[in-house]
Amino acid sequence: MSTHEHHDHDHDHHDHDHNSPPQPDDKVHSYYQILGTAVKELLIEKGVVAADEVRRMIERRDSITPANGAKVVARAWTDPAFKARLLKDANAAVQEFGIDMPTTHLVAVENTENLHNVVVCTLCSCYPRDLLGLPPSWYKSKAYRARVVSEPRAVLEEFGTSLSDNVEVRVHDSTADMRYLVVPRRPAGTEGMSQDALASIITRDTMIGVAVVEPLQN
């Protein structure tokens, strides 16, 4: 990789597999921060991106939280017609919340008494960012990506989620073009709750499928 600090200055664009990996004492982390800053400055100076566009994009990405997805799930729990639309055409259904995902096919998958869905992106980190914000670190980790497809029950146990043996576990591997939202099961004891109150108990991890929505304690 010729952008590495200790590349051999041959500027060969095809040397991705050369044999000089960064060494721990190279202060690698600061190198990539510096590289990122350098590229950002050059792109702004050349007018490829504007500083203002980058700032606004950071604000926009920061403003998207799992509360978006929770609102969608809470509506699905309380409105059977909406749930049917969500499961049939999730892109159209989330547009009812002003969430537009023009370049991605969104698929909503529903957990039931007998079926539990889990989402991963084994190849990288594809994730329904418009609904859940940026993915958590563990979602991008090799351990999660590698193992949840081969031993999902064991991985779920590591998240504190135990599923009974008669529940089928279905793992969905995302791509750049197809991303998944898990509709978790609505717990008992929530019958009289408003959509807003329901949304407040629906967490990010339950919409990825590594957790279940806990029954209310009181």
Binding site: H18, K27, V48, V54, R61, D62, L123, S137, S141
Partner: protein, 110 residues
Amino acid sequence: MRGPHDVGGLDFGPVENATHDLTLWEKQIDAIRAVIGAKGIVSTHENRRTIEQLGHDVYDTLNYYERWTASLARQMIDKGILTQDEIDARVVQVRQRLADTGELELKEGA
């Protein structure tokens, strides 16, 4: 043969159920990638391909946004938007600037 990104079914030990708030640097890389994606300069697929082509040495050593940064620099060079020499020269300048202000020491200790 598996590429470095193709990890499905392998074993990398327990999942560390930890997360961290992104640093400003990580947010900037994320946002630049989103802006150039929205402008149609580099698609999600191109970004993925460039990251996959980093090779095991680089891919396995860098963290997530470090990979994105390496990939971003590569894409800008491949598309003729920036040159390697320009980037190298600016890296030297930024490093010097951070060293002058003492920020480099702080980051390296982190």
